[in-house]
Assembly symmetry: C2
Homo-oligomer: 337 residues x 2
């Protein structure tokens, strides 16, 4: 339902699709501040219904610089002979055509704006963003983030209208990359083959350790990715975020570790050393995966990449290797393998 007005006429810049310039309705009708309300209404009558989606009258000076805006409601309520300069309100917020369209839409949501004026470097009104376009942007960006978080290239068309080959292409690259990365995890296991052969029971806990690490990492990464996207978390908060995730990790790790220790002792009837190895690995894995889950998206943002890529699938692969290394090191220490 996107309704981009691509700004492509001659002598005009073409903006990338994620910029405000590609989203805005270009060059809305403007009025001089000395025009009276009656004159404006007469002009609007001439124009007829025109661009029905515009819900504000914009007032500019003779250089086209934005002075203010008035809703049609204000126009209805004002005296006919009042000049627009007295009826208008100064612009509350403006954006530039080069700004990110998601940021503009977020601002409109945050400040309950139905229209957002777009001005150039000299404060000249060059377009406006409407609430319905902002809604479409927020939906599109949320969908894109979810697709990236699930290791897919964002799609442009609705699912049922997308060809199988297109879906395949949006998915296969990440799958291949992550599968080959998992080779490292396999190599770690191969490196400890003798230890595993000596203590075969240890193998049975590998899925649980890997899955729990992946789940903990997903929780933290999605929290941070969404927080960054909503503007609730900023790069400068990184230390607070890490401290918070660290504390949550210790609480989660403590509970999960205790449950695992008891379960192995009481249900699996394995030795305390095995139980301690698994439980300790679990606590450390939870800690590492929660810290990875918050640091990797922050690092991506810092590097100018999309933080949404640093979600579940990638973190799972990284954390798997870490979990297994910890597991085998701990086993070597506690079980003397």
């Amino acid at each position: 339902m996107r309704n981009n007005t691509i700004f492509q006429e001659k002598n005009h810049t073409v903006f990338a699709p994620d910029r405000v310039g590609a989203l805005m309705l270009p060059r809305p009708e403007t009025f001089a501040p000395d025009r009276t309300v009656d004159q404006v209404i007469a002009r609007l009558r001439e124009m007829g219904e025109g661009e029905r989606r515009v819900e504000r009258c914009y007032v500019t000076d003779d250089k086209g610089r934005l002075l203010g805006q008035a809703s049609f409601r204000r126009l209805v309520l004002a005296a006919g002979e009042a000049p627009m300069g007295t009826v208008m309100k100064p612009p509350f917020l403006t954006v530039c055509p080069e700004d990110d369209r998601e940021t503009a839409a977020q601002m409109m949501e945050q400040f309950d704006l139905l229209e957002l004026p777009v001005v150039d470097g000299r404060n000249r009104l060059v377009g406006l963003v409407t609430a319905d376009d902002a809604m479409a942007v927020l939906q599109d960006e949320a969908t894109e983030d979810m697709e990236r978080m699930a290791a897919m290239a964002p799609s442009e068309t609705p699912y049922l209208q997308t060809r199988v080959v297109t879906i395949f292409r949006s998915r296969i690259l990440w799958l291949l990359l992550l599968m080959l990365s998992a080779t490292f995890t396999g190599a770690i296991i191969s490196g400890y083959e003798d230890a595993l052969a000596a203590q075969v029971a240890l193998t049975a806990f590998i899925p649980m350790l890997m899955d729990t690490g992946g789940n903990c990492g997903s929780q933290s990464s999605v929290t941070v990715i969404r927080g960054l996207s909503l503007g609730e978390i900023h790069l400068s908060d990184w230390a607070r975020v890490c401290a918070k995730e660290g504390a949550v990790a210790l609480l989660c790790g403590g509970v999960l570790g205790a449950v695992t220790l008891l379960r192995i002792l009481l249900l699996n009837h394995l030795s305390l050393a095995v139980a301690a190895t698994v439980a300790l690995t679990l606590v450390l894995t939870v800690l590492i995966s929660k810290l990875m889950g918050c640091l990797l998206p922050l690092a991506a943002r810092r590097a100018g990449l999309d933080p949404a890529v640093m979600a579940g699938p990638l973190i799972t692969t990284v954390v798997d290797a870490a979990a297994l290394l910890i597991y085998f090191r701990t086993a070597t220490l506690l079980l003397g393998l």
Copy 2:
């Protein structure tokens, strides 16, 4: 940034927070169809700026039933003596207070509406939803879906303002549940301990098989969950969705299986039987996880549950067990364990 007007005055129903009734601005000012534009403007002047967020005039009959609506722009352009009945447009879409607020917001986004009238069972105007509230709903719902997909209970407050204990509580239950479910996967490994001891090389491929299955399942489930949420996929499409995911799975599985087969033969220098076991397991795992990834969210919707719960973490756990069962069965057949 939610701006819910909870409808709680005496003699009025209190609506659940996810219903339109809890979101709408209640009882907007209405006008009779025989009122002229000038009379309406005079009344608006009396009211002053009033509820600034309302951008439409609503016309109702003497029973309060919605007849139509007019933007302030139409009011400005209409002749002063014209009765509202001739100026108004019939309502394009309406919702009920009992409707889901997400559905209402989606409708507004889809049809580019700035306001959506809310009517009761007798078509009486009881409120309206504004575009800025719809934007907030779309953002909230996307955040909730992402949190559920990452196995968390949705949070109400921004991350940095949420206490560590609250974050812990929103995460630990799912972690525990998924960890205990992974026990089944461990039990499968324990059941095949002898086979693994005989062919230790097989263990090294377990992380890759599990991760790839999880990633494939995440891709499909997020696609279907988001498609359901955006109204691009409906329950009745289940057969088409499964056929599509099945086809994508065969393509993805084919590529991943071929790469794995070559890699094991050329780089790991293992026997063709081992390579074939791993590759065949991979193809079947991809197929099963993609089908699970689309069927589980559809089944959740069918059962009246939130499909977002059936995402990566839960599907990974289910698919892990399936992948290992296939692995060991294939190994038994091809390697004669």
